[in-house]
């Protein structure tokens, strides 16, 4: 198992509960999609893996290492992350944005001087080509790219350090349906090519059914569905997306 959640709960300071006693095991190489309404705890689940959020109770293990503040240095370089809003640096070039994926293994002096090794630059070019961006994009500013292109750059950045796990937090939420499909295809092919596990949160059930090998449904911080996508029927989808308001209205 690459990832293990053992009775993990997360409560925020305002008293809201994001996750409640979640236990999960994700095997290596799996493309796993998390479905759930807004506020269900999908993002918190992903952010617990690379320590952006720490659990209130329970343990998260990545490749046998317990996720704790002092283990972040070992864990984070082995995990890539793709964000909903891409989180590229707008004024940096496409190449520089991808190369920032290698910052943890670059000495601070070399990083400050911008002296990225030629090997890293070549890898960045190959990854950009893999996600469908050409040489003409290399020195364009990230802010000059379309949403779909920016997400491709973010995927290339996530794969710079040969990650064993890629976390994708609603990577297609701000993209049109056609681009969303293309981006997920790229994510799947890149993870297959580089042997990485993918844990991806989505809102689009059709895309989840098309791309996922496993679907995890979360409702109000609890896992209520965990199976292959073909076992996900309409009634289950309805219960996953059943919000408190609609529940109240039904009763």
């Amino acid at each position: 198992m690459i990832l293990r959640f053992n009775e993990v709960s997360k409560r925020f300071q305002d008293g809201s509960v994001a996750l409640e006693r979640v236990s999960l095991e994700i095997p290596r190489g799996q493309f796993c999609v998390i479905l759930g309404p807004s506020g269900a705890g999908k993002s918190t689940l992903l952010r617990l893996v690379n320590g952006l959020v720490l659990p209130t109770e329970g343990v998260v293990e990545f490749d046998g290492i317990c996720v704790r503040p002092h283990t972040m240095g070992r864990i984070r370089p082995r995990i890539g992350m793709v964000h909903q809003q891409f989180h590229l640096v707008p004024r940096l070039s496409v190449l520089k944005n991808v190369l920032t994926g290698t910052l943890p293994i670059l000495s601070t002096l070399r990083a400050l001087l911008g002296l990225f090794p030629m090997q890293a630059q070549r890898r960045a070019c190959r990854l950009l080509a893999e996600v469908g961006l050409g040489e003409e994009h290399l020195y364009r500013r990230a802010s000059q790219l379309s949403g779909g292109e920016q997400q491709r750059v973010a995927i290339a950045r996530a794969f710079m350090l040969e990650p064993q796990l890629v976390l994708a937090d609603e990577p297609v939420a701000s993209l049109d349906p056609q681009t969303s499909r293309t981006v997920l295809k790229l994510l799947r092919s890149a993870s297959a090519q580089h042997g990485a596990t993918v844990l991806c949160s989505l809102h689009q059930t059709d895309l989840a059914l098309e791309f996922a090998e496993r679907v995890i449904g979360i409702q109000q911080g609890r896992v209520i569905f965990d199976a292959k996508p073909d076992e996900l029927d309409a009634s289950m989808l309805e219960s996953i997306y059943l919000t408190r308001e609609s529940e109240a209205r039904q009763t």
Binding site: H87, V89, T100, G101, L103, P104, A111
Partner: protein, 335 residues
């Protein structure tokens, strides 16, 4: 339960645009300003201005401001551009190798005869006249002032870097370093340049060095605060993306924050440079070198025509720099 979202919109409570509290505050502030205007001569200034306007349109035949203006114009013009020096006072003077454009004149020396109560000619004196000599001297002094402002700005940038890093929440090591950096910024800003310059003149003597140090110390407080505020307000998204990779704080600052904040940083530095040029012109008054020293000397001698030349050079320089700076800022922000 009858919540506001369920009640009829016609019954919802709407607030008045002006509350009685706001009106009370307005009246209190107006009363305070009225009292203060009398204490600080603002009321007199208003009266004098009205009197000057009445004089200008011919409604009155005397105005205090008009008399002052006439006195100033009579003594401040024409501008002094040339310089005339007695050759007897020039060391190693060679009449065969005169400076460019200069020439020699013979003029009688005038001395005041107390017995006769009039000026009398004593002897013929040779003078070297340089038609643009004084202007050249003032321009050199202005250049010295610009250099002082430039070095003061560079010093303030260097000093502000650690202040900005430790004064930015999220990058500072702990609350003690954060509070110390912010307090140091406030302290530097609170000290006026003239006071700092007097202190450094006592330490290092007359010259441009105290001026440079005064500008550097005072402005690092501004830049430190501006930089730290911008670092704190930078978009968290790119920072989080780099934190996820495991990059340390310095790398996150360099690659995720500085590219975002750099146009603003350049704008701040340009503003501080412009401001330092203006301030450096008056720092000479306390002995900190540059054109200010020349200005103070001429003011003490009541050489108002020389003062006018100096003021004109200062005005043209500051105005030109602001124009250049404005264009550069637009280029950086657009680029």
């Amino acid at each position: 339960m009858n919540t506001s979202s369920e009640s009829k919109p016609d019954k919802w409570t709407l607030r008045q645009p002006y509350s009685w509290k706001l009106l009370l505050v307005f009246l209190l502030v107006s009363a305070g300003l009225g009292v203060s205007a009398k204490r600080t001569d603002v009321a007199r200034g208003f009266h004098l201005t009205l009197e000057a306007l009445a004089y200008a349109v011919g409604l009155t035949d005397k105005a205090e401001v008009a008399v002052g203006w006439r006195n100033f114009m009579e003594r401040a013009f024409p501008l002094v551009l040339s310089e005339r020096t007695a050759t007897s006072r020039l060391q190693d003077f060679d009449r065969n190798r005169l400076p460019p454009l200069s020439y020699l004149v013979q003029e009688p020396t005038l001395e005041y005869d107390l017995a006769r109560g009039d000026w009398v000619e004593t002897e013929q004196q040779e003078y070297l006249v340089e038609p643009l000599g004084y202007l050249t001297h003032v321009l050199w002094k202005m250049l010295e002032t610009l250099e002082m402002a430039m070095w003061g700005t560079l010093l303030s940038i260097v000093l502000s870097i650690p202040l900005a890093y430790f004064g930015a929440a999220g990058f500072s090591w702990n609350s003690a370093t954060y509070t110390s950096a912010r307090a140091l910024c406030s302290f530097c800003r609170a000290l006026p340049e003239l006071i700092i310059a007097i202190f450094f003149v006592l330490l290092f003597g007359f010259g441009t060095l105290p001026g440079i140090l005064a500008l550097g110390v005072h402005c690092c407080g501004f830049l430190g605060k501006f930089f730290a505020d911008d670092i704190e307000n930078a978009d968290r998204g790119p920072q989080e993306a780099l934190e996820c990779t495991g990059a340390n704080r310095l790398k996150v600052l360099w690659y995720a924050v500085l590219p975002q904040t750099m146009p603003q940083f350049i704008a701040y530095i340009q503003y501080i440079l412009e401001r330092n040029v203006r301030t450096a012109t008056v720092l000479g008054i306390v002995g900190a070198g540059g054109i200010g020293l020349e200005l103070k000397g001429r003011l003490d001698l009541s050489d108002y025509a020389h003062v006018s030349t100096i003021l004109l050079v200062i005005f043209i320089t500051v105005f030109s720099l602001e124009q250049i700076s404005q264009r550069l800022r637009l280029t950086f922000i657009a680029g």
